[in-house]
Amino acid sequence: MSYDYDKWIRPGKLPHIWCPGCGHGIVMKGLIRALDICGLEKNNTAIVSGIGCASRLPGYIDACTLHTAHGRAAAFATGVKMAKPEMTVICCGGDGDGTAIGGNHFIHACRRNIDMTYVLMNNHIYGMTGGQFSPCTPTGAKASTTPYGNPDPIFDISKLAIGAGATFVARTTAFHATQIDKLIAEGIKHKGMAVIEVVDDCPTTYGRRNKFRSVVDMMKVLKDTAVPVVAAAKMTAEQLEGKILTGVLYQENKPEYCEQYAKVIAKAKGA
């Protein structure tokens, strides 16, 4: 299948700010394919982000785009969606933005099961500020603020989303480029809160501090650690040690927030 990238790229806004080898560009292409697969209308599509490298994505997409403050994407997006439930609302951003400073907004958007799709690019680091550790930096890894190795345990973003109440949760990696668009498209079509965690890489601020000799090495790790959920079902806990599950991790149908609120309006008007 061929995709209409040109339709969704905002004229005159490329090149992007991302470093050579960064996974965010792969995710953006996947997102564009998903927009194309879903046949969305530009004027009816809002793309909302926070602050950070990944959050610069909306500027490159020709839609209604909102680059908010650090961590606040889900909260701004909730306002947009509540005001205009007929719009397709997509959030995007990084792991620090979404799960540290924006963690509260992230879990509550999941809890409400509001109809939006959150594409969370997890590159395990604060890239834009130069490589400080995030809640997703592996324990022991080096960051500019963990010169002796990271003492912190990590968040499992997908588990967090499922625990908080998101009704569609999927994970893939920047290596698995063709899966990105499929999962995001499924998330967009799903009625309710969809979280797509895309594990990607930051060669500039994470790779070079953690003995990755090249971007290819980082991509190889993404390839080798990813285990599709179907395959994982046949593997032992020992075999799954250090692996990440990919594919649709969780899906259920539950009442969607804006539809629930429409019932509130009907009740108030009838009373």
């Binding site: 905002r10 530009k42 785009t65 909102l66 908010t68 606040r72 701004f76 509540m82 509260n104 907004h105």
Partner: protein, 379 residues
């Protein structure tokens, strides 16, 4: 037909004023003493097809308001004390991105958790300077229940007209006090909505100054699509670090409020017995209620007192206060803080008259006797 009359508290008047103004989105978080604004709107907004959402925190409430406004809603939040501190980041966002919205601050004592159930007026400088960076501020300070209603309407009008956040500050006293109000009929008070663009969608720029200092604002989900960011931006809405663009945009955003012409449109004051006054009481919000009583009492005692009451606190009514400073021998400024607006009075009167402050931060209102004593002391 007789108008509808009720005895209601200030917070209820605020909520009903918002509905009158066409508010159709409220994002909030519970906090004393502002919570009744949210409670009333949770009941009233869905009746008119509006949306009410209680968000996970104060920051999220402010974020949802900005998001909803960009999608075309007339949006409101209400908070107090610590909630206002938390909202400052995104009040700044609404300033730079020029998103119309209204923030109600029912002031209590502070800092920090302070005295949640007691009144205060200690956020008046925060209203001006609370968020980081240079920016203009519009803040209104009603002092009666009917005025809370009408000033909430005016706050929406100014937010829509100037495309920016507008703050309404009253305090716990008037927030919770009950007073009679005669509700204005629909159409009786002016209701202003933002100017929508008329250019073809492909020509639209969200910060196009060829339309003046307040560029038309489209809505997400309309025929127009555009980019919004909290970064310094050029007229097309996209980030820039080019010095000439950044400088021009920052200055325009201040000018749209503080230019003499616009400031005059935003300014609103009450002058009570000021014509022949020899001593002036500069009072705002609930404190002005005591000041009015004090003026009458002082006049009975042969002292020519008057009251100047700003209803728009920011931008500060510089010219009028400066002129009155030349007319009177002294100005007394009662405030439920340790001296905030007196600094502005001092700045603009430039030593032309004596100054005296009356300050309370114990959660009790300033009574007329305290004001009268200070007047006699400075005369």
């Amino acid at each position: 037909m007789a108008k509808k009359v009720a005895v209601i508290q200030g917070n209820t008047a605020c909520a009903l004023g918002a509905v009158y103004a066409g508010c159709n989105f409220f994002g909030g978080y519970p906090i004393t003493p502002s919570t009744e604004v949210a409670e009333v709107l949770s009941e009233e907004l869905p009746k008119v097809g509006g949306k009410f959402i209680q968000m996970e925190d104060e920051i999220a409430a402010m974020a949802s308001v900005i998001g909803a406004s960009l999608a075309g809603s007339k949006a409101l939040t209400a908070t107090s004390g610590p909630g206002v501190s938390l909202k400052q980041e995104l009040i700044g966002y609404a300033c730079i991105a020029e998103v119309p919205c209204v923030i109600i601050n029912v002031m209590r004592g502070g800092p920090s958790t302070g005295m949640p159930t007691g009144p205060g007026q200690s956020d008046v400088q925060q209203a001006k300077w609370g968020t980081h960076g240079d920016h203009a501020t519009i803040a209104l300070v009603p002092s009666t229940i009917p005025e809370i209603f009408s000033e909430t309407v005016r706050a929406f009008n100014l937010a829509e007209q100037y495309r920016m956040p507008v703050q309404v500050l009253f305090d716990e006293i008037v927030g919770h006090m009950r007073e009679p109000i005669e509700f204005p009929e629909p159409g009786e008070l002016e209701v202003i909505n933002r100017t929508a663009p008329t250019v073809p969608p492909e020509k639209y720029k969200p910060y196009d100054t060829s339309f003046g200092d307040v560029p038309p604002l489209a809505a997400f989900g309309s025929n127009y699509r555009f980019h919004v960011t909290g970064l310094n931006k050029a007229q097309d809405g996209f980030p820039t670090t080019k010095a000439e663009y950044v400088d021009a945009e920052e200055r325009r955003q201040v000018r749209k409020v503080e230019s003499p012409e616009n400031a005059a449109n935003i300014e609103k004051n009450e002058e009570f017995k000021c014509d022949d006054a020899e001593v002036l009481i500069f009072a705002y919000g609930s404190t002005a209620r005591s000041a009015r009583y004090a003026v009458n009492k002082l006049r009975e005692q042969g002292i020519k007192a008057g009251m100047f009451r700003p209803i728009t606190l920011w931008p500060f009514p510089e010219k009028r206060v400066a002129a009155l400073g030349k007319q009177v021998k002294a100005i007394v400024v009662p405030e439920m803080n340790l001296g905030q607006m007196i600094l502005e009075v001092e700045r603009v009167t430039k030593g032309s008259c004596a100054l005296g402050g009356v300050h309370r931060v114990d959660g009790e209102p300033i009574n007329p006797d305290q004001i009268m004593s200070k007047v006699k002391e400075v005369m």
